[in-house]
């Protein structure tokens, strides 16, 4: 073991001399793509080749094309050095920025929708700009990271902020003029909200004032009694509570007595949020602290609710509780439409969102350390005091979180109100009807803006208020001690609720299943396969198309999501928090709003995408990206940063670290991110319902339109196919994750 034998002195530096820099390759790509591919197009096929629109053809006529390609040639020359100086980085940055500007200018001058060539050229210049930002020393990150940041910024700007901005603009710009008329008209229309109802004798406004006053006084009284010892110190708090209670009383009364989409959506969201959270909390507590086998039952239900298109439960509700419903008509002999409207929508949503609340709350309930409760008990706390002073304060942030999540989901849900709404207006459906029924884009935009502001408001509340209030600590320390069992008085009602909920769920799914096998539910219940046979002519093709688009979209969704998670979670650069904020914000954008934004933003000019498959893919990507971000962030949190630092000190670039260290460790998360994106895209409806055309139809939209036109059986059949296919996907995913998870688990837990 002699020392001087360790001689591999030929250790070559990281960047091998004689290799050309990355900008060179990008510039080459620009030149080749810019010359050979069409800069614009006529039809809806983004990939179409058109010799008369290639750069080669345009050389003689369009000066921006010529200049851009000359710039690319210059960059080809400059980018050859593997390690350019700061100055040359700055020059390259200038040239590439100019190149991007010229590309955009060319598109606008031509006025036609963009073609593949322009995309390649633009992204090429963008990459060079990012790389040179790093070379120039202005952005203290590696070239790869610089390019990634610019790509993400442009994508988020173009495909999230721009559509939302367009929607905002459309709500106040009518035929080129700024006006608040549409807002005013919409807000005043009874469809939106009717406060004073002329057909009732009482004045709703007066009533609301009384209720508000009463609520204020009640709150004041309670607060005065509670703080009677130190009135002075709590004066501000008391005043705030009084005012808030009065305002809440007033608004709730106004909403309750009023009419319209605002009222329906808000009341629905609040009640669905309350019920789902209560159920989710009960089930989570049961799963943790009762011998009742909740966990094994909740698992499949969470999965089912994830792979079910959002409106299928609505469809099932019709089977069970509709006019010809099995229960309402057959068993009870009623001919009722009570379940069309808020009640039916509410039940369907509670069924759909309870698993969500359950998932959020199991984490919280599980992290309650039993040792803490034992500690409280040794300090002579009674059971009620224990709950009041320890358990509840710890649960509260999680409960609020679950509640707000369910509120957002309910506000944004589109499918159930559409199927079960029974003509009662809700905010998301009004967006749809404004466009598809009343052909009024401006009004649709107004509804979209209102919906967006509400969900984003709730989201911000959740994000800032709760993040601070969260006590849940993930120590990873196995907690000893046994959680105390639930008191019987709590346990039995909870179990009953669970059994009822499960039965209802099973019944609904079973009804969709059997509904797909009978001629016409309620009228002619003879067994038939005709619905499935009918699928072969019309449904199956659409289903496969949907699967294809969803699969294509899954890759960029997961990729962009993980890239954002990486950039936000691991890199440090100016604008990071802005990027983080916007990408988080996209969690809260309802699909309907995204859809209307896309319709308005991409229907003309160089960015025209209407009618293409690309716009559907993009809608999938940017709607499902949050799933990728979330799982990316969660997975990154599990990886000790010193691994990356070790890699860095061993001469690895960020890209190498990402590729050789992070990626292999993230594989399970990436796989599940891919699958979830795929499943979500397959079951999506709200963001794409505006975007489909007869030639680019999607399974969910087709089901919805069949149900709308009375072909319920066929809709049920396609729903069953969809659910079954997704179940297979999720099962496969579990198998794959189990496989990789075993290896990874063995490797990681050391």
């Amino acid at each position: 073991m002699s020392v001087h034998t360790v001689t591999h002195p030929s250790a070559v530096p990281a960047t091998v001399h004689g290799r050309v820099g990355t900008p060179f390759w990008w510039a080459l790509l620009i030149l080749v793509g810019g010359l050979a591919l069409p800069w614009s197009r006529q039809g809806v096929n983004v990939l179409a080749y058109d010799a008369a629109r290639t750069g080669l053809w345009l050389l003689g006529q369009a000066w921006p094309v010529v200049t851009a390609l000359v710039l690319a040639a210059a960059l080809l020359f400059l980018g050859r050095q593997p390690l350019p100086s700061r100055t040359s980085g700055r020059v390259m940055l200038g040239l590439s920025t100019l190149g991007m500007a010229l590309t955009v200018a060319q598109l606008f001058m031509r006025g036609e929708p963009f073609g593949l060539g322009a995309v390649v050229v633009f992204l090429g210049f963008l990459s060079i700009a990012g790389i040179s930002l790093s070379y120039s020393g202005w952005l203290r990150v590696e070239p790869f990271a610089g390019a990634a940041i610019l790509w993400l910024a442009v994508f988020i700007g173009v495909f999230i902020l721009y559509p939302l901005g367009t929607m905002l603009a459309t709500s106040v710009w009518v035929r080129g003029e700024f006006t608040l008329d549409v807002f005013r008209q919409t807000l005043r229309s009874p469809t939106f909200f009717l406060f004073e109802n002329p057909w009732t004798e009482v004045s709703e406004r007066r009533l609301a004032q009384w209720v508000g006053l009463a609520a204020g006084f009640a709150a004041l009284a309670v607060q005065l009694v509670a703080h009677r010892r130190e009135l002075g110190r709590h004066a501000l708090r008391i005043a705030a509570w009084t005012l808030v209670s009065a305002a809440c009383g007033y608004s709730l009364s106004a909403l309750y007595t009023g009419f319209g989409a605002l009222r329906n959506s808000v009341l629905l969201a609040l009640s669905v949020g309350l019920v789902s959270t209560a159920l989710g909390l009960s089930f989570a507590l049961l799963a943790q602290r009762s011998r009742f086998p909740i966990r094994s039952l909740m698992g499949p239900f969470s999965t089912l609710s994830m792979i079910t298109p959002p409106f299928v439960l609505g469809l099932a509700m019709i089977y069970m509780f509709g006019r010809q419903g099995l229960i309402t008509n057959r068993l009870l002999g009623m001919n009722t439409t009570a379940f069309y409207g808020p009640l039916g929508v509410g039940v369907a949503q509670v069924l759909a969102f309870t698993p969500l609340a359950y998932l959020v709350l199991t984490g919280v309930v599980r992290s309650l350390d039993p040792a803490m409760e034992e500690a409280a008990q040794t300090l002579r706390a009674s059971r009620w005091r224990l709950f009041h002073t320890v358990t509840w304060p710890l649960l509260r942030p999680g409960v609020a979180n679950a509640f707000l999540l369910c509120v957002i989901e309910s506000l944004a849900d589109f499918g159930n109100p559409l199927i079960l709404g029974g003509g009662v207006p809700f905010l998301p459906t009004e967006v749809f009807f404004a466009i598809e029924g009343r052909f009024n884009q401006n009004e649709a935009a107004v509804y979209g803006v209102i919906l967006l502001f509400m969900t984003v408001g709730v989201f911000l509340l959740q994000h800032y208020w709760l993040r601070k209030a969260s006590y849940v600590t993930v120590t990873g320390k196995p907690s000893s001690g046994h959680p105390s069992p639930l008191p019987g008085a709590l346990e039995y009602p909870m179990v009953t609720a669970f059994v009822l909920w499960t039965l209802l769920g099973i019944m609904l799914y079973a009804s969709v299943f059997s509904g797909s096998f009978v001629k016409l539910w309620g009228f002619n219940n003879t067994f038939t396969l005709e619905h499935y046979e009918a699928l072969r002519t019309s449904g199956l093709g659409v289903f496969l198309d949907t699967a294809r688009l969803a699969a294509i979209a899954a890759v960029p969704s997961a990729l962009v999501g993980f890239l954002i998670a990486y950039v936000v979670g691991r890199l440090n650069f100016p604008g990071r928090s802005l990027l983080e904020f916007t990408s988080m914000l996209s969690f809260a954008v309802p699909g309907t709003v995204m859809g209307i934004g896309y319709v308005l933003a991409f229907n003309s000019g160089p960015l025209r995408l209407t009618g293409t498959e690309l716009i559907i893919i993009l809608a999938f990507v940017f709607r499902n990206m949050p799933v990728g971000i979330r799982s990316g962030l969660a997975a990154l949190q599990q990886i000790d940063r010193s691994l990356e630092e070790a890699s860095t000190t061993l001469r690895a670039s960020n890209l190498t670290t990402l590729r050789r260290i992070l990626f292999p460790l993230l594989v399970p998360a990436v796989i599940s991110g891919l699958m979830f994106s795929f499943v979500r895209a397959m079951t999506a409806i709200s963001q794409v319902i505006f975007l489909v055309t007869p030639s680019t139809n999607l399974a969910t939209v087709l089901i919805l339109s069949w149900v709308g036109h009375g072909s319920i059986g066929r809709g049920a059949a396609l729903s069953c196919v969809l659910i079954a296919a997704m179940a297979v996907v999720v099962l496969l995913l579990n198998v794959v994750l189990h496989r990789t998870g075993r290896n990874a688990g063995r490797a990681i837990t050391y």
Binding site: A11, A14, T15, R651
Partner: protein, 376 residues
């Protein structure tokens, strides 16, 4: 940017007025340091004093708020970590869990695009060097803590860095293994001629492995020196107390003579400008005898017969030696009687203390007065 990696010549490291702030926290405050090449240098200090931060600044893992950093004669202030001629052994080892031992060690060489054949020889030599030959195929999870530590070391050494950074590399090992590994580490560093920068808060570890120790406190360097210099000539009261045990007493310096409460101390080394000063005395350098007895063999000494009177408060029998806590006019002093040749003096015994010049040091002016006060 990166040049050819050197073959075994550890480079000196220089920090110039380096400051690192985290918001309002100043983790490293205007640190200037010259770390000689091919030496083992320890950053030593209490928890939170900025050792790790300093190390990470040298590695390039933290950006700095102000200052400059040199490795060899090149400035690396703006070089990213991946281009500095350093490698690091992390406290958690940071082995890549999905790569086996061979691939972990080969990782850095692959980033340097070394040929496959060279990688194979270099890795097996590095593994042999740390005594892990034969374990190439194992995953980190299949290794013991000590073996993981060696893999981390081999992974860093195989790169033949100019500077090897170690952040409390032994803290996850048990006490016995720690002693063994630190000796091996020391031997390796000397044989390979690398500059080692070693972070620890354990002073015995620091004394055992270092050529030079840098003592830090609250983000500021207190003193740089060899273990012996730090022990015998601490720059201030903090260092005096941090390296070994120390008594700090107030002394008057008049005309080149040093007085502690009426006892003229035999000519201590240190800074002898006149005035009120702080005198450090190691407990072993104090001789203790019952009051009235004359020191044996002290005849002819001008200070013989005099001494600092006191009374034993507490005494501890230690076998070959005895430890006393003695109350004197100059405060409570800790005394270690290393050649115990009689019975241990019981508490309450009036005693006379005399100081030996070898274990004393007059601290520079203004250093440590606060600490002397804080200590009592």
């Amino acid at each position: 940017m990166t040049e050819r990696l050197p073959t075994g010549m550890g480079a000196p490291v220089k920090l110039e007025q380096v400051t690192k702030r985290y918001g309002s926290v100043v983790a490293v405050n205007g640190v200037s340091l010259e770390i000689p090449g091919q030496k083992m240098v320890t950053l030593l200090g209490p928890s939170g004093c900025g050792k790790t931060t300093t190390l990470r600044i040298i590695a390039g893992l933290e950006s700095i708020s102000a200052g400059r950093i040199f490795i060899g004669d090149r400035e690396v202030t703006h070089q990213p970590a991946s281009q500095r001629p350093i490698t690091m052994v992390f406290q958690s080892y940071a082995l890549f869990p999905h790569l086996n031992v061979f691939e972990n060690v080969a990782y850095g060489l692959r980033n340097l695009r070394v040929s496959q054949a060279e990688i194979r020889t270099a890795v097996s030599e590095a593994l042999a060097l740390v005594g892990l030959a034969g374990l190439e195929g194992r995953l980190p999870s299949q290794l013991s803590g000590g073996q993981q530590q060696r893999v981390a070391l081999a992974r860093a050494l195989v790169m033949r860095p100019q500077v090897l950074l170690l952040d409390e590399p032994l803290s996850n090992l048990d006490a016995k293994l720690r002693k063994q590994v630190r000796q091996e580490l020391r031997a390796l560093q000397q044989r390979l001629g690398i500059t080692g920068i070693y972070v620890t808060h354990d002073q015995s570890e620091a004394l055992a492995v270092s050529d030079v120790i840098v003592v830090m406190r609250d983000g500021v360097v207190q003193q740089v020196g060899t273990p012996e210099e730090l022990y015998t000539r601490p720059a201030n009261a903090f260092v005096a107390r941090f390296i070994g045990d120390a008594n700090l007493v107030e002394a008057d310096v008049r005309g080149g003579q040093v007085w502690v409460k009426g006892y003229q101390v035999p000519d201590p080394p240190g800074h002898k400008a006149g005035g009120r000063r702080t005198l450090m005395i190691r407990p072993e350098a104090i001789s203790i005898r019952p009051a009235g007895e004359t020191a044996a063999g002290a005849t002819g000494d001008p200070g013989a017969g005099t001494g600092l009177p006191g009374r034993v408060i507490d005494s501890f029998y230690q076998g070959m030696s005895a430890e006393y806590l003695v109350d004197t006019d100059a405060g409570q002093l800790m005394v270690i009687d290393t050649h115990l040749d009689g019975p241990v003096l019981p508490p309450g015994t009036p005693v006379t203390l005399t100081f030996a010049p070898r274990g004393m040091y007059l601290l520079p002016e203004g250093e440590g007065a606060d600490l002397a006060a804080a200590a009592s």
